[in-house]
Symmetry: C2
């Protein structure tokens, strides 16, 4: 059976992966907002370090009501828009659709789970540096791997989607030249990603600094490492044991990254909502449920909430 | 015996207290830097909420070599200038001079102790809102109390200055209409002051916010309270037991303050050195000596060190 895919949110992430999937011949349907007319008329352009490509025609939609029912809805919106999901997803779901939620943070799948029900939600972490540089125009800078797996709810007690379906999605993504790994341990994958996101997203906003500036200063570098270690300990208390050496890996790996503004810093600088609640708030709630005090993460959360409420007004994007 | 006082650093603090002492008829000698000529020719002006006054002539000096030997040297410089103390103090000391160090932070008396030796150093905390608004011109906004006492070294093992001398200084300050308290427990006094300075100095720089903005936002308000509590616990591990209710007092008291930019924020905004090391660094070293982890203070220290190294260049003052 050929799966029908919906890409919800055709930005730096959805445009890149959806573009690769379309190029590979998958049945992909894009929901667009501000770029709809441009993409309907001119298609999608992806400049990638792995090779540029241009798709003159894609299945573009301005409203979910116009879309076909899809087997796999890939959620690529920012999590700050998850309150819109019921209106967006309901028209494109059939009784066995599953959602694949590719968002930063922890338990970002919960909105989809509320909507689709048990056994119908997967989540994934993307290790991707890409930007949208114009309407329907994506620039892929580095990386691109997706690690995804079944989402089993906050207490890990619920069933995930059917294994056969997960395998087919994995195969479809691999066939699209997307580096892709199917995991049975989504929580550990999320926590490992948070070991980078929590130090570097927050510090880049609080210190108004790019990743390479944070790495070059001995104080902020050590602070990033201490934060990553606190996240690792939080993960351990929440049931995901991660080896201490992974902290060093995160730091060393960041040294090797191209100078990069975190998505949270870009959101901050452009006056867009920041993903403070799903990244920091949800990690702190998980720590609290498991009786672990996370003083540095709580400090960063409170600093970021203050900065989000008091930043200079910028034009909304 | 009438004591001869030197005021080293005639700014918002030294100008205010030295002015009051001069007005009361004490023998006071001011060391000045940029304001020397103005103060020599036009004296000192103090606009105070307790009553304005003007001193047309004061004993003003540009160089310590020109000053008489003094019995009590009141150190009112910012602690970031303490590396200058040997050159400044040596010419004005006699064999029984004592130093009274009125600086923010912890163990700020150490430079004076190294220079004058055991039994010759006192320290004090000033609860004062004042600014220098022009050459030789001080504006006193609020408060003004000094709490001072013998400094006994980092391990509290050394003798303080002679009790009689301390009492005479206390009496002289009281006679100058300075609200003044002589304590035998300088460490607890310093820690109580740090319970305000550590949260509010640092957050005002990190969040780029005035004290009233920090108090008005529920996240930064709770963060300030958590930081103050961590300082209280640090104090306890360092031998100064402070009642938990003092945290509430600090917060309530800050609610009642006039909207006020902390000295550290003013230093930051004007491109001047900030007292990060004596306030945060020395508190952290004390915590470490006593086996206490102070994660939030360490986070703030590292954030402030980064911001100090990366702030936009401003003209030096």
């Amino acid at each position: 059976m050929k799966l029908k895919y919906a890409i919800v949110g055709t930005g730096a992430l959805g445009g890149f992966y959806g573009g690769l999937m379309t190029r590979a011949g998958l049945d992909v349907h894009f929901l667009l907002h501000s770029d709809f007319e441009h993409v309907r008329d001119h298609g999608l352009r992806v400049d990638s370090k792995n090779g540029d490509f241009y798709l003159p025609t894609v299945n573009a939609y301005a409203k979910p009501e116009d879309m076909p029912k899809c087997d796999c809805v890939v959620v690529c919106l920012k999590s700050t828009q998850n309150h819109l999901l019921p209106g967006i997803l309901t028209p494109i779901l059939h009784s066995e659709s599953i959602a694949l939620v590719l968002q930063n943070g922890l338990h970002v799948e919960q909105s989809a789970l509320d909507l689709l029900g048990k056994g119908r939600v997967a989540g994934g972490c993307c290790f991707l540096c890409s930007n949208k540089v114009g309407p329907g125009h994506i620039r892929h800078l580095d990386y691109g791997k997706i690690v995804f797996g079944p989402y089993r709810g906050i207490d890990e007690s619920e069933p995930g989607p059917p294994e056969e379906l997960m395998k087919q999605i994995h195969q479809d993504l691999c066939n699209s030249q997307i580096e892709c790994h199917l995991t049975d341990d989504l929580p550990a994958t999320r926590w490992r990603k948070l070991m980078w996101n929590i130090p570097f997203n927050g510090l880049s906003v609080i210190l108004n600094a790019s990743t390479d500036a944070i790495m070059a200063d001995p104080n902020s570098r050590d602070l990033a490492k201490r934060i990553s270690e606190e996240v690792r300990q939080t993960a351990g208390h929440c049931g995901s044991q991660i080896d201490p050496s992974y902290v060093d890996w995160v730091i060393d790996h960041t040294d090797d990254m191209v100078p990069y503004d975190s998505s949270m810093r870009l959101d901050f600088l452009h006056g867009r909502p920041m993903e403070v609640d799903v990244i920091y708030g949800n990690a702190l709630r998980a720590a609290e449920r498991n009786g672990f005090d996370a003083p540095i993460q709580k400090t960063m959360y409170q600093q970021l909430k203050f900065l989000a409420a008091h930043r200079p007004t910028k034009p909304a994007n």
